[in-house]
């Protein structure tokens, strides 16, 4: 029955391979790359090692894109399976599917970022998070991985939009978290005056910081929209748009945390180091909201 599970599995291995390739790419890069003009880190420097690194980078991108295509196929297949068995096609109707969708969104975001800004080093972090999401999904017990029919409360067209929007915002925050981590790595190297080849391919601190900010600027309104869609759904299903259910409250907490971040960015001294740490902290809160609440706190969202 579950043809999609095989595809999810393949996706997992491809993301693992992509992650390994991105890390290898970082190691292959020469420190000389730091001399490249700012903003154009990969332009036209084609020494021997550079060529090797470039090739590795290209393969990494290729594997990532291929993994993402398989991820898409897996979700589509799952959508059809759901159509057959549970009267909905939303392939994000349980924890497993939600995780697979989040990693899909993270990888999509990363690929777009790579094509737009031509920075590959980010892959070692962001593809890493996508891989972990996919891995965590496949670690779930089998009974969580199948396409069981939906409980009556979930059986609604709201599931298509509320869940996907919210999960997409999580993916944006994951991206910001990965960039924050990357910032701290790079910053440490800069402060130590490290000549390690590992950091050669990293974009400059300002760019990492700005990209992280952008990711949060994307996730923040998306999460608000997701929460509001949830409120509208609750108004149809639970008899009130807000009932302080733990999941609901935690998504609000996460939103407030990023709200503080957005406002902090307007004041001096909240870029760079502090922002990076904050983005990682925020992402951990997202993880708690997504996973922790389901397993540690009881509430109306207990099924998802």
């Amino acid at each position: 029955m579950m043809r999609s599970l095989f595809l999810f599995d393949m996706t997992f291995w491809l993301y693992l391979a992509a992650l390994a390739l991105y890390v290898a790419y970082l190691f292959a890069k020469r420190p000389a790359m730091q001399l490249a003009p700012a903003g154009h880190p990969t332009d036209s420097i084609e020494d021997r090692d550079g060529a090797w690194a470039t090739q590795l980078g290209q393969v990494a991108t290729l594997v990532t894109v291929f993994g993402w295509v398989l991820n898409t196929l897996a979700l589509t297949t799952r959508a059809f399976e759901r159509m057959e068995h549970s009267g909905t096609f939303a392939p994000w109707s349980n924890q497993f599917e939600a995780m697979a969708y989040v990693s899909w969104a993270i990888i999509l975001g990363y690929v777009l970022l790579e094509f737009r800004y031509r920075i590959k080093a980010v892959g070692a972090f962001v593809v890493g998070i996508g891989f972990i999401a996919m891995g965590a999904a496949s670690l779930l017990p089998y009974r969580y991985q199948t396409a069981e029919p939906l409980v009556p409360a979930l059986n609604s067209y709201w599931i298509y939009i509320h869940v996907s929007v919210t999960l997409t915002s999580y993916a944006a925050f994951a991206m910001a978290g990965g960039l924050g981590l990357m910032y701290l790595f790079k910053e440490r190297a800069v402060n130590r005056g490290s000549q390690s080849r590992f950091y050669a391919a990293f974009p400059d601190l300002e760019t990492i910081d700005e990209l992280g900010y952008k990711a949060i600027m994307l996730g923040f309104p998306l999460l608000a929209f997701g929460i509001i869609l949830g409120a509208m759904w609750a108004n149809y299903a639970w008899g009130g748009y807000w009932s302080w259910d733990p999941k609901e409250t935690w998504s609000l907490i996460v939103w407030l945390i990023y709200g503080a971040y957005i406002h902090a960015r307007m004041t001096r001294g909240w870029e760079g180091h502090k922002a990076a740490i904050y983005a990682i902290f925020g992402f951990l809160m997202v993880v708690f909201c997504f996973w922790g609440v389901n397993f540690l706190l009881s509430g109306l969202h207990a099924y998802a």
Binding site: P152, G239, H263, R265
Partner: protein, 446 residues
């Protein structure tokens, strides 16, 4: 004023709200005192009461934080929006050279054309990029000013206003709205005083998937207004009935604890200890037992039998069917009349002295009740308006960023010098790219 409009206060409020909201997710809200005492101890429970931890979201301090957030965003709007509004209408075109040179993105170019030609080109170039362009000619120099994306700033202010709209909507809802829970039996009609109409529950049933899991809970409801049925709808979990602003939600279901559909009784003859008849009794309907001199009726039911000895009353201890019992009215040969309680789990508990028979309660068909959530929220549209403002405002503010360009064209010895600078309040790397491209375009005109 400064303080109330400050970003520092906003940050503090966001964090404070986030932290206090956490309390309510860790400590269960609105439980019975015993639950807290059992889990946290008596001393802790006293503190919870004092601090309001058992209903965090309605404490004075939590609501004041929300109130302060409104004050904060409103004062910010009041203080900052007028300047945004002004710059939408009229802009500062003329600026000093030092002003341009102090910008993060700035450059100086030398071109060989005339001032007018350069100015014309810049107006065209910026215009093509979607900028609104203004020029000002002064003796010896022309200033070209271009602006784009002011809506990004407007968006932020719309989002700020939305906080107050949402909170007000919530207040209206909690003062003028209500939320109740009704346990309704099939076939019964209930008066809804808040709407001044009646509601009849026609039917309740459950649909199942092939694998046995529940597909949907359904109740067919009919609204009876002024004595005439005006609306009928089958509601399910995600599909409520709305009538005169009152919403009826399918919320739960269960077996009634004070009534059943039917009961099955074995009648045993005491002498022979043999079952002589099995009868099915319907609720509150007298039945004559065939072949026996008996008339029987079932008048009461309790799901969990208990007896209040001071009031001498039978009642159901819980809603669980833990100890079901029915009360019969038995008429034997029109001579012996009795009203015994018979128990489902304890068939031999009571005996009617003068009767020749023993009654055993061996089975019953429970009566289903449907649990309806009944709610009206007059503040809800306001909340949705606020939500729309929030989403639209935030989206504008995060996708569009306000940028301004100034080019001061000054005549030099050969041709002109262009002092070109630009600012944005965010998206520095994108703006940097754009600025570079524009610079190249201006240069290539040469």
């Amino acid at each position: 004023m400064e303080f109330f409009a400050s970003i520092k206060l906003a940050m503090f409020l966001f964090i404070a709200l986030a932290m206090t909201a956490t309390i309510g997710t860790v400590i269960q809200q609105g439980e019975r005192p015993e639950t807290y005492v059992q889990e946290y101890g008596e001393e802790a429970y006293r503190w919870f009461l004092r601090l309001g931890f058992i209903d965090v979201y309605h404490t004075w301090w939590f609501t004041s934080l929300l109130g302060l957030l409104c004050v904060n965003s409103l004062t910010c709007f009041h203080k900052r929006f007028p300047s945004v509004w002004r710059s939408m209408r009229q802009d500062k075109v003329s600026v000093s050279l030092a002003f341009i040179q102090g910008m993060k993105q700035q450059t100086t170019l030398s071109l060989t054309q005339t001032r007018e030609a350069v100015a014309e080109h810049l107006v065209k170039l910026f215009g093509e990029k979607g900028y609104r362009v203004l020029t000002k000619s002064d003796p010896g120099e022309v200033t070209v000013y271009a602006t784009k994306g002011i809506m990004g700033r407007v968006g932020a202010h719309v989002a700020h206003l939305s906080a107050t709209v949402i909170v007000l909507g919530g207040l209206v809802g909690s003062y003028y709205g209500f939320q109740e829970f009704g346990v309704c039996l099939e076939g019964q009609t209930y008066h809804i005083p808040r709407g001044n109409f009646d509601l009849r529950v026609d039917k309740f049933w459950i649909d199942y998937h092939e694998n046995g899991s529940v597909k949907s809970y359904n109740s067919t409801l009919t609204v009876i207004d002024q004595g005439t049925p005006t609306a009928t709808k089958t509601i399910t979990v995600n599909d409520p009935l709305v009538y005169k602003g009152i919403w009826f939600y399918q919320s739960s279901y269960g077996d009634a604890w004070d009534q059943i559909e039917a009961a099955r009784i074995n009648i045993k003859e005491k002498n022979s200890d043999k079952i002589v008849a099995t009868v099915d009794l319907e609720w509150n309907k007298e039945k004559t037992v065939e072949g026996l001199p008996l008339k029987m009726k079932m008048t009461d039911f309790v799901a969990d039998f208990a007896f209040n000895s001071t009031e001498k009353k039978v009642f159901s201890k819980t809603a669980e069917h833990a100890n079901p019992a029915i009360r019969l009215t038995v008429d034997e040969r029109s001579a012996v009349q009795s009203t015994p309680w018979v128990f489902y789990h304890y068939p031999d508990l009571f005996e009617i002295k003068d009767s020749a028979y023993q009654f055993e309660f061996i089975g019953y068909q429970p009566k289903k009740f449907t649990g309806l959530q009944i709610a009206r929220n007059p503040g809800i549209n306001m909340v949705w308006i606020g939500c729309t403002m929030l989403v639209v405002g935030m989206t504008l503010s995060s996708l569009i960023y306000h940028r301004r360009l100034w080019a001061k064209i000054v005549s030099g010895a050969s041709g002109v010098t262009v002092h070109f600078g630009g600012t944005t309040h965010k998206s520095q790397i994108d703006f940097q790219k754009e600025f570079k491209k524009l610079t190249e375009k201006i240069q290539s005109q040469n």
